[in-house]
Symmetry: C2
């Protein structure tokens, strides 16, 4: 790099770091709002967060960034250069281009529509009356189409929306993995449905004292590698993980006395996000090399610790005696196998957020297909409820009796989060593909879990994924780490093996 | 007001509100740092806070403020106008003038000297070796003299420093109250020393379970009027109160099992600050009419609830049965009178922060006199330890055996907080003068306390003090509310009566 390019890069990194600092201040406001803020603080908190978001946006579209990017691209750090420095230019450029291409008036219209639309959606869901939400969905789709046109795309306007959550992802690549996965999942589900073996899930609704749940959850989070010297666990209504800065990563959960799995697997899930955040390169904080790649890759980390690890038999061979000591009343007379089967119960259900590891992806793919169809014009907003129910019946074999159990259940569309859903299943696909590779690279991972050894997996994730930051896009990273492009195979193989054994059809 | 002036005022208020919002974001960072932040977050937290402080400063010295102030002063809102609008101009003007008069290079030098000086001070205190701290004190005095010259003053350069903490306060006015107070306090202390009556303070060091202390502290804070819907109580190392914004005021305390008074009176003290903050006019948040007047007035509120109320016999006639129920082991066999005497124990001690209600002010006045003498050149930095001990002996009748119990005990000078100490005793003076007036206005206040009625006093404080914000300077407010200028009389009368009864010399 020329000294001039180095100077431009340093300036760009400095602005990027300032934007990141503002972002972490906003993250603290958000964390506090959801965990500790007294009720009286709510009104002003909106003003604080809005003001910081405004400052951040102003910095994000600073024309100085555009000048520096142009200079750096001219200086050889643009397309075709695969150095770490070029990755910085690429990713800051992506955010800058996106932020400057969308007119401020459109941003404001979307924000307003989301705010009013969420209120309408909440009412619609409560009354299970799609007609209340329909005009807002129509309006939001129109606005998001404008956004896609403003941002630009190669093949499909939906790609422009995907890009906001999963940079570089395309409808084409996603469909190539989703379509065979759906076909096979429906078959798998059918086999599970026809199996004579069923777990006793009632054991999970027994009394699990909240203080013991918290103890046990912390113990497990610590064991898998969440660092409490550089993080916290708090209670909230809707669990999340947030980065307050390098060295400070916070996860949350919620406890219900008669629901052990909700809090426990929630903690493992958020710990997975947290371990990613804690594994980012601290020295690069404030520029793309120190930042997470995408929602999908983030989700791959949370789902790996929650499912591939946390719902494995090996994991519970190690933890179950401790669990029994924590919950003698609930689990004292329950065998490991009965418990392991119960936490891996698979059955069709209407609500995505309550669904199991196997059916979850069908919920997501249904939404992705509908978004695609609405966006391409193949589906009108009028027909959403009918098409939802039709698809649902064909995938799950059951039909929602009301729209609040169907197309009205999620907040996402009202909030303008179109193109977001696929990242959940992308996360599961990445997760399975990474885990299969880790098993090859690290050795007998399940034997390690049985001994309570989780550090080798964590180190593999640190080295192969976390430490790169945004050096590679998600699809490049998958190819690089696993030697294959994204596909449905690893996830399907994992599920077929696991549920085949549990439901005796392997 | 002309439409043009109104427009300028609105613009000024808008900028002021932005500065306040940034301030509250910084307050949340500070609160979190001291209550919840994991250890790993410390390094980056300094950067976050520093960045926000920089943004705030940039906004604070925005030349646009200067233009608006000039226009508003020209439009009749300057000196001689006593409207609320003029108070806004006056106080924003004070902050702007101060911030723009001090050269940035001097600000940076002071910050650097404070940072290095604090480290040196901590080492000096630990080793009780004044020579380690001396060069930094010398340097800091020099810098603060430059600051005073830059800010400007009428009579005394020390006034320019006072002004940062107690706007409008002067050496002259303070000495007029402090000097007779010191003389009389020394006499009072002598009488107490010679009294045959002594409380059994050992009862306060018995076992007070921490969870019960927290229960009882919350109960008392709520009873006197701290609103937990608009506030929180958390645990910290050095207790404080902070405003996160209108509707969100947070207090903190610390608990030790064998020290009941530390946490309990700490909670009352911080609740007093909190009740002031919660009593500010929410509609005026972000401009001086919605802000606290000064450190001294703030301290008057905390000290009133802590001492005038919380150490009164009437308060405990109401609360003592509850306290005995919370702490049966410690207080079950202790009479109300014995307890009341113990919490009002007066005896000379070396450490300011551990001293009682009566001797506390002597600690402060000693510091004020020394600061004055150093600043006027009457005292050299070399002579600080000797003069400290000499004065201490003459006021308290005991002599520190080492400088860590003497001139090295406080962090303030190392941090550049010169002119800060007097606000503590100003707070006690205001407090006594306000309370004496409230007793006249509200009726038989002690009878109300005996019935657990604290709302009338709180309302009187809301109406007479809190609601005005910075409409009046501290000295004007005292004159306005009590009909008299600041004096030592009310505080002395209160102490003479109270301790006269307790120590039987009245």
């Amino acid at each position: 790099m020329t000294p001039k390019a180095q100077e431009s890069l340093d300036q760009l990194k400095k602005i990027s770091r300032e934007i990141s600092i503002l972002g972490t201040c906003g993250a603290l406001l958000g964390w506090d709002e959801r965990t500790h803020m007294p009720p009286g603080g709510a009104e002003f908190r909106a003003e604080q967060s809005g003001y910081l978001a405004g400052l951040t946006h102003k910095r994000l579209v600073d024309p100085r960034i555009g000048e520096l990017l142009e200079a750096l691209r001219a200086d050889g750090l643009g397309n075709g250069n695969y150095s770490p420095e070029a990755a910085i230019v690429r990713e800051i450029g992506r955010a800058y281009d996106r932020a400057t291409k969308i007119p401020q008036s459109l941003v404001e219209e979307i924000t307003k529509c989301a705010s009013l639309g969420e209120t309408a959606w909440a009412k619609a869901r409560k009354q299970s009356d799609y007609s209340i939400f329909k005009p807002w969905l129509t309006k939001m789709i129109g606005l998001k189409k404008q956004e896609a046109e403003a941002v630009g795309y190669e093949d499909d306007p939906y790609d422009a929306l995907l890009d906001d959550f999963e940079p570089g992802a395309t409808v084409k690549a996603i469909e190539a993995a989703f379509t065979p996965l759906r076909v096979e999942l429906v078959k798998l589900l059918d086999k599970i449905k026809n199996s004579q073996r069923k777990p006793d899930v009632g054991i999970l609704d027994r009394r699990y004292p909240v203080d013991k749940q918290e103890d046990f959850g912390r113990l497990a989070a610590k064991a898998i590698g969440f660092d409490f010297e550089r993080g916290r666990l708090d209670v909230t209504v809707h669990p999340f993980c947030t980065g307050i800065g390098p060295g400070d990563t916070r996860i949350t959960t919620r406890y219900h006395e008669t629901n052990f799995t909700g809090s426990f697997f929630g903690i493992l899930h958020e710990s997975g996000h947290g371990i990613y955040d804690q594994g980012l390169n601290r020295q690069e904080f404030g520029n793309p090399l120190g930042d997470a790649i995408s929602l999908g890759i983030h989700e791959s980390q949370s789902r790996m610790w929650e499912n591939q690890v946390g719902r494995s038999r090996a994991f519970w061979e190690y933890f179950y005696p401790t669990a029994q000591k924590h919950f003698p009343e609930a689990l004292g007379n329950v065998s490991l196998d009965a418990f392991y089967f119960a936490i891996n119960d698979v059955r069709p259900s209407f609500i995505r957020t309550e669904s199991d590891e196997a059916t979850y992806n069908l919920h997501i793919m249904l939404r992705f297909e509908m978004e695609r169809a609405i966006f391409s014009g193949d589906l009108t907003v009028d027909d959403v409820p009918a098409v939802w129910n039709e698809k649902f019946t064909s995938y799950f074999g059951i039909t929602p009796s009301k729209d609040s159990d169907g197309c009205l259940q999620d907040v996402h569309w009202s909030a303008g989060l179109i193109g977001y859903f696929p990242t959940y299943t992308l996360g599961n696909l990445y997760s399975a593909q990474f885990f299969a590779q880790a098993k090859k690279d690290v050795g007998d991972m399940y034997a390690m879990f049985r001994r309570g050894e989780f550090a080798p997996l964590k180190k593999w994730l640190n080295d192969n994924i976390h430490h790169h930051g945004q050096r590679y896009r998600a699809d490049e990273l998958v190819q690089r780490v696993t030697g294959k492009p994204l596909s449905h195979e690893a996830l399907l193989a994992y599920m077929t093996e696991k549920f085949g054994k549990l439901y005796s059809f392997a």
